[in-house]
Structure formats: C-alpha cells, structure tokens
C-alpha cells in the first residue's frame, strides 16, 4: 500500500488540493509530532484531550490512566477522532482574507482497540520510550505489574485517515499584488533543547 483508500469518512472536502493520502507522508507527520488530540462525543456532550501518541507499523497508539473518562468512552465503543498537527509558518498576505498558516496535519477516525495482550502492551510502551529518546526503553526500570495495570493502551488502525498540508508563500488575488502591503512567511519551528540532567 502506498496511499490510503479514500472514502466518505476520510475524504478532505474543504481545500481538497491540500489533501494527501500518501502512506509515507502520513507516517512522517505522525512520527514527527509529539502530541495528538483525541476526541469523542455523543448527543449530549463532546470530549477532547491532548495526549502523547506513537506509531508501530499501521497502528497508532495512545496511553493513559486506566480510569481516564475519555478512554472509557472509547473502550465502550464510541468512535474516536484524532488530530495530529504540525505548524510550520504564519503566512502574511496582502489582503486580510488570504492570511493563512503553513501546516501538516493528519486526521484519523475510528474505534479504539484496548490492548490486552501483555506482550503487545509492553512492546508498544517500549516503542513510546524509543520515540522520545532512542535507547531509553533499555535504560529505565521497566514497568511492574501494578504500573502496567494502571496504564491503558489504546490502538487505532491507520485507516479512515488523511493528511492536509499547506506550504509556500501567500496566494494573493491578482488585483492585490500592487498594494503597498508587505507579504511573506514567518517560519515556526519546534525546538528540542539540551537535556537538563538532575
């Protein structure tokens, strides 16, 4: 598979020229981002929370307290939606309307699978450690039985998924190009500093 199938659920409707269903592109956005936002809802209420995520093959994992209310709703069968967003720049156009941002985002819709197999659970949590610091899963004290029990890992299959990407400078209307208004792009970069050891 090199592109994800497009269906009524994951098709990008607004701004379809910015849509991208390429597997490698979507994997790269998921892997670069440190945090995702996870949501579900019902007729009465909407729920959302930020959480760390990581990927192993075609599975996106999130983890949290076994008592987490949003997790419980997903485990009980509510459809989840996940957004992963990388902001790359602020786009200043000559008109207010054409101001924009450069970004790479992924949206995934689907039901969660609670990871109950202990081998998969431990391997997935090791993969989380490795995402944040290569080699860390071999250094830190592994989780004991109590700690593992207190942690829920949810798995989402990478399907009903799409990326949306904007790059480049402002796109002004032709009649605005001669206005005495500056235009350009202010880059945004997430910087990881040096580790402060204690």
């Amino acid at each position: 598979m090199s592109t994800y199938p497009i269906n009524d659920r994951n098709r990008v409707i607004r701004g379809p020229k910015r849509a991208n269903y390429d597997q490698a592109v979507i994997h790269a956005i998921i892997d670069e981002a440190l945090v995702c936002h996870l949501a579900c809802g019902d007729e009465q209420a909407s729920y959302i929370q930020p959480t760390l995520h990581w990927r192993v093959g075609e599975t996106l994992y999130v983890h949290g307290s076994a008592k987490n209310g949003l997790f419980q709703r997903l485990i009980n069968g509510a459809e989840g939606s996940i957004a992963i967003t990388l902001l790359d720049g602020i786009v200043f156009a000559r008109s207010a309307f054409h101001h924009s941002v450069n970004y790479r985002s992924v949206i995934l819709y689907g039901k969660a699978r609670l990871v109950t197999d202990e081998a998969e659970k431990c391997a997935s949590l090791d993969a989380l450690m490795e995402k944040f610091h290569s080699g860390r899963s071999k250094e830190a004290r592994p989780a004991n039985a109590t700690e593992l029990k207190a942690t829920s890992v949810l798995a989402f299959t990478l399907s009903n998924i799409a990326a949306k990407i904007r790059t480049g400078g402002p796109v002004d209307d032709p009649e605005d190009m001669q206005l005495p208004v500056w235009a350009g792009v202010q880059p945004i970069h997430l910087q990881l500093g040096e580790i402060i050891y204690e």
Copy 2:
C-alpha cells in the same frame, strides 16, 4: 472574577493537583498558543480539526469556511470541546512509568455562537490579525463583503473551562532513586523565526 467556577463539567478529575482555574493563567495559555483543536460528536461519529483561535476578553473565537462541516454541526447546536496545548518539555524519569511531559493545557466545553453582528465579526477578525502580528489589521487590505460572507466566526464564552499544568523534573519512586539511570528534562520551545518577505 479571578478564578472560573468549578462544576461537574470542567472539574479536572485525573491529576487534580495539576488543575488550575485561575483566569490569568488560563488567559495566558490561550493567548500564547497559536492553534487549538475543536471537536464535536454524536452517537455515530466524532469530528475534530485544528484551527487558529484567539481571545477577546472572555470570548474565545475561531473562524473558518462558512461551509465547514464541523462548524455547521456546532452552529446547529452540538456541544463543542476545545483543547489548547503548549508542550514545554519531555520528562525522563528513572522508571518507565514515571516518564512524563511538562505542558500547559486548557480545555473548554460549550456551545458555539455564530457571530452575525458585522461590527463584532470585523473587530474579531482584526483581533486575530493583531494576535499574529501587531499592527497587521491596519496594514492588510480589509475583507470585502464577499470574503466576509465566506468566513464564519464562532464565539465560545470562557466558562466550563480549566487548565492543567505540569512543571518541573521527574517524580520518581523513592526506591528508584539509587538506580544507575539518568533522569532529567528536555525543554521544548516553539520558535518563531524571522519573517521571509517576498
């Protein structure tokens, strides 16, 4: 008002020691963050998207295409949830379990109000421009009637709102402190670069 009222909807249940309902703290997180995540759902499906947000007093605004599907659901009365997340550091503990991140996040629940008053709509869009670049609303060509009509602005009142904040180093179990495992914090910083003019 210096703190937001706490009720069953906005009370932080998991990790209550990290909860913060202080108005100034919540305002500062909202104002520093460039992007929020907006969600709603029903019995069948969940919807989420990243979008820019900005604040005027006790109102949080988002804007988007008037045809945006999630916006339509909110305008039609679905409860929305909004998450605003600033990631400040990766926390490396001596045990896998106590690894964490430092962050400042805000969650808001509520129904959207479609901004129909033209004066409020124009003033709010000016405030968005000012958030991204001071003085910009006086420089760029203002939106014309067609552009204004194509843009929907939604307003959420800052209520049913809470912040959650983690700061500082790892909190290890006492029995892990003597393990030969390094611990510390890797700072994360969102860097705005110099504008590249075109």
